[in-house]
């Protein structure tokens, strides 16, 4: 396998412009002759499907939810970055590019990140044009706030529901195309296989989740915008349905999986309360603008927070990172929380929690202003915990939130399978080893609205497509594989619940491939996972049949894939013998506990090629070259 990034030549600032000119175009009258398959309907999926349909392509869009509007982009709270420099505070495309590369601890491809920063400004304009109700100032202009890892205010927001509003904008654009017949929408359909014919992606096999019917949909190119795989940890801020199945099936068909160990643990989530817990809820990072994070200075201090005087509190982020303070990047803030809790200074019933306190913000701004900014987040917190954050500080703890790793793509967002494009969180491209806040929405919409509409045309215009017969042997083989897997899952008829396997997997991953990793722990996990997988296939209980709506069957298939993916994550974490961003190897740290990169050996992307069942996958490397930024030690002090 050869990893060809296909980055255009020329100066960084001109690459995308040059590439847009160099790319081949599909004549407007010919576009309707092409069918593009889009799997997923979040910001990248809905945005890309709408954009391509507007150009005239025939698009088939699939999602597992009952409506495209449910995709988990909807849950993003804080905001979306754009280098508008409306604040006059020194922002620029170059600065957003630099912040993103640095935030990712120098493990992202320069050219991709620069393009992302360039189109960020167009995203805001487009969203305003389609009626996204961004927050406004009294003068009627767009408001901004600041976010972790940046010293400028470049984050646009819609209360604490930015993801919802951006997604509904993309969803409405998609529905417009559905209404016009340009997009065929398949809700409650789950993709279970990619069809690869003559080395090119030509279709997907899906299961109609209501009737159980297995269907094949063929076209000229396939796009996966199926999100991240953070539910591998079981407890995560992801929606319950988020899964890795689409990208895992593609991986097993030949798409390289890049940097699987780069997973982000978000610092501000509501802590775990019990064994039955099904998910963790994020509290937007924007809260760190005004909330101050602390733990008691003394170990085991069980006094209620309001009885602990200021002098006995350790505002540890402000102490450790005076220039960024509570706005230190996510990986750093998460690790710091873990550190103080491991020292025995954590709060709450489990000791795995830290305070996020608004006392000073309320004193400074008044309760009304705080309510205006964060009211819905405070309400959400109170609903879950039954505690009033205006009076008692919030308790928060890190949780799995985002995966920077994903299918490897070139500059055109094409995977190592020609014709298979990967968008949004599902690809690995822009965030390196750590994503900054308010950059996921930016990347999802950049890929969907502004990149895939160009690069798909270039691919389609350069290739010749003959119709694939419905009974082509690759089509039949893909269908048979789906039927066989479904049958196998239903046929185990064991005694153990699906979620008990998922919980056990999650615990192994959290303990050994979470916020901190080391050789011993990773090898331990790699020793345990095959046994867990084996037990799953011998003893899982999946009731019901395949010919009906069967939620157990859906979940079982996803957990089966997570059990395999977990192993690849550990393998990747083990081989990347350095610390960078969210990938923190205990063996590689500075005297002060910061991550120590090894640029000589690991200034690269590791892309894994599937080599067959029970065979170690092949690790390929794409070297990263930095021509426009200096490989510096990341400092937020």
């Amino acid at each position: 396998m050869k990893l060809e990034p296909n980055v255009p030549s020329g100066p960084l600032e001109k690459k995308w412009d040059k590439h847009r000119f160099d790319m081949k175009l599909v004549n407007p009258a010919n576009k309707r002759k092409y069918t593009v398959i889009m799997v997923g309907s979040g910001l990248a999926g809905a945005g890309g499907a709408a954009a391509m349909a507007e150009l005239g392509y025939h698009v088939k869009c699939f999602c597992y939810q009952d409506s495209p509007r449910r995709a988990h982009s909807i849950a993003a709270q804080g905001g979306i970055n754009a280098a508008k420099n409306y604040r006059n505070d020194g922002d620029s495309i170059r600065r957003l590019f630099y912040d993103t590369v640095k935030g990712g601890d120098f493990r992202a491809r320069e050219a991709n990140v620069y393009r992302l920063a360039q189109v960020s400004v167009n995203i805001i304009d487009q969203c305003v044009a389609i009626g996204v109700p961004f927050a406004r100032e009294y003068g009627g202009l767009l408001d901004n706030r600041s976010f972790g890892g940046a010293q400028v205010s470049r984050t646009f927001y819609a209360r604490g529901q930015t993801g919802q509003q951006l997604l509904l904008g993309a969803y409405q654009a998609l529905e417009r195309q559905i209404g016009q017949g340009q997009v065929d929408m398949y809700s409650r359909h789950e993709m279970l296989e990619v069809v690869v014919v003559d080395g090119r992606a030509r279709g997907v096999v899906v299961r109609d989740m209501v009737t159980g019917e297995i269907q094949t949909h063929l076209g000229d190119a396939v796009c996966l915008a199926t999100g991240g795989y953070g539910n591998v940890f079981y407890l995560a801020t992801y929606a319950k349905g988020c899964n890795a199945t689409a990208i895992w099936r593609a991986y097993k068909k030949g798409a390289a999986f890049a940097n699987p160990c780069f997973t982000q643990i978000h610092p501000t989530c509501i802590p775990v309360t019990g064994e039955y817990q099904s998910k963790l809820t994020l509290m937007s990072e924007s809260l760190r603008n005004d909330g101050r994070i602390w733990v008691p200075k003394a170990k085991g201090d069980k006094r209620p927070p309001n009885q602990i005087p200021d002098a006995e509190r350790d505002y540890y982020l402000e102490r450790m990172y005076p220039s960024f303070g509570n706005l230190a990047p996510r990986d750093i803030a998460s690790r710091a929380a873990k550190k103080v809790c491991d020292e025995g200074r954590g709060v709450g019933p489990t000791g795995f929690g830290v305070y996020l306190d608004f006392k000073d913000a309320i004193a400074r701004l008044g309760k009304k202003k705080v309510e205006e900014k964060y009211g819905n987040l405070f309400e959400m917190y109170e609903r879950i915990t039954d505690e009033n954050p205006y009076e008692i500080p919030m308790r928060i703890y890190p949780a799995s939130h985002y995966t920077m790793g994903g299918l490897w793509v070139d500059y055109n967002l094409m995977s190592t399978i020609p014709g298979l494009f990967v968008l949004g969180e599902a690809n690995f491209s822009d965030h390196g080893a750590n994503r900054l806040g308010a950059s996921a929405l930016m990347q999802g919409l950049a890929d969907g609205y502004f990149i895939i509409p160009y690069t798909i045309g270039n691919y389609l215009a350069r290739e010749k497509f003959e119709k694939v017969a419905d009974d082509h042997r690759e089509v039949v083989a893909a269908e048979e594989a789906v039927v066989a897997r479904t049958k196998r899952l239903l046929g185990v008829k064991g005694k153990r619940s699906i979620s008990s396997f998922h919980r056990e997997l999650g615990k192994i991953m959290w303990d050994h491939c979470g916020m901190a990793r080391d050789k011993k722990g990773l090898e331990h996990a790699l020793g345990k996972l095959p046994g867990l997988r084996e037990e799953f296939w011998k003893n899982v209980s999946v009731p019901g049949s395949g010919q009906e709506l069967n939620q157990s069957l859906e979940v079982a298939g996803r957990v089966a894939d997570f059990l395999e993916l977990g192993e690849l994550m550990c393998l990747d974490a083990l081989e990347r013998d350095e610390s960078c961003g969210c990938h923190f190897r205990l063996e590689h740290q500075m005297a002060d506990g910061e991550a120590r990169r090894n640029d000589e050996k690991f200034c690269n992307v590791a892309a894994w090629e599937y080599a067959g069942e029970e065979t170690k996958p092949n690790r390929h490397v794409e070297p990263l070259t930095y021509e426009n930024v200096e490989l510096a030690v990341r400092s937020y002090k």
């Binding site: 389609i130 529905e175 309400e379």
Partner: protein, 260 residues
């Protein structure tokens, strides 16, 4: 605590349904309602029985996927709370809870507590958008919007499309849902060019999907987990009336194409 559940079980749209009683013996008040159901379901599955099918996804009250009726109330007893955010501390030991799917002809039952809300998507597809194709939009700050209008548009835009308003309405009306989108877009300058057509088309589609009309019961607003207000229904009615009166336009009457 111990909870008794009487749950509507229905295999698919064509089968007949019935209530089945289940016991949830070890419920913690810290559990969410759906986590309580997870525990019941895990137990059923291990026994080889069919778990209760219910829709859910984000479990943080924003995706709008979840929702069913608990003791006659859409999303249960707690105000402004989706069923995924409802916690068992809202109930007492020994409670008997009846769980039913949304009841509305326009939301056919798919299975158990799951209904088909595709009608909502079709209402949006009929006009709930601004036709600004992607690419080349002008700078966002060239369209200043009065803060009050932007805030009110955001209030309307907060709808999560869960369908509780329809389930709570004695007429199974979708006017709260439809009016929220019509109002949001009517309040923004970008929404003006399509404003009359949007109101006419979306109202026509809402009627065609078989939803009832509003007779001012106010149950929708009471059931809405996002606090969408009935004032938007008033705005929609005004939009519809104005649009109907102006230019004699009717849905579908737009001219296409042009000279040359």
């Amino acid at each position: 605590m111990k909870i008794t559940l009487k749950v509507w079980r229905q295999k698919d749209a064509k089968s007949e349904g019935r209530f089945v009683t289940y016991e949830a013996p070890n419920v913690s008040p810290e559990m969410s309602f759906l986590e309580m159901l997870d525990v019941v379901n895990e137990d059923l599955a291990v026994k080889g029985q069919d778990p209760i099918a219910f829709d859910h996804d984000c479990r943080e009250g924003i995706c709008g996927t979840c929702g069913f009726v608990i003791n006659g109330r859409a999303h249960g007893p707690k105000e402004r709370t989706t069923v995924c955010q409802l916690h068992m501390r809202s109930f007492s030991d020994g409670d008997v809870l009846t769980l039913e799917p949304w009841r509305a002809a326009s939301f056919p039952v798919v299975r158990d507590l799951i209904v088909d809300r595709g009608a909502f998507d079709r209402i949006i597809a009929s006009g709930g958008f601004i036709s600004a194709a992607i690419g080349g939009a002008q700078d966002g700050n060239t369209l200043p919007i009065r803060k009050e209008n932007a805030d009110l548009a955001m209030d309307a835009a907060a709808c999560i499309g869960c369908g509780a308003c329809v389930a709570a309405c004695p007429n199974a009306s979708a006017m709260l849902f439809t009016s929220a989108k019509i109002s949001q877009l009517a309040l923004l300058p970008q929404g003006q060019p399509e404003r009359p057509d949007r109101a006419l088309r979306m109202v026509a589609k809402m009627d065609a999907e078989g939803f009832g009309t509003c007779t001012n019961h106010g149950e929708c607003e009471a059931a809405c987990p996002k606090g969408i207000r009935m004032q938007f229904i008033g705005m929609m009615n005004a939009e519809f009336t104005k649009a109907s009166a102006s230019e004699g336009r009717r849905p579908g009457g737009l001219s296409e194409g042009g000279a040359g």
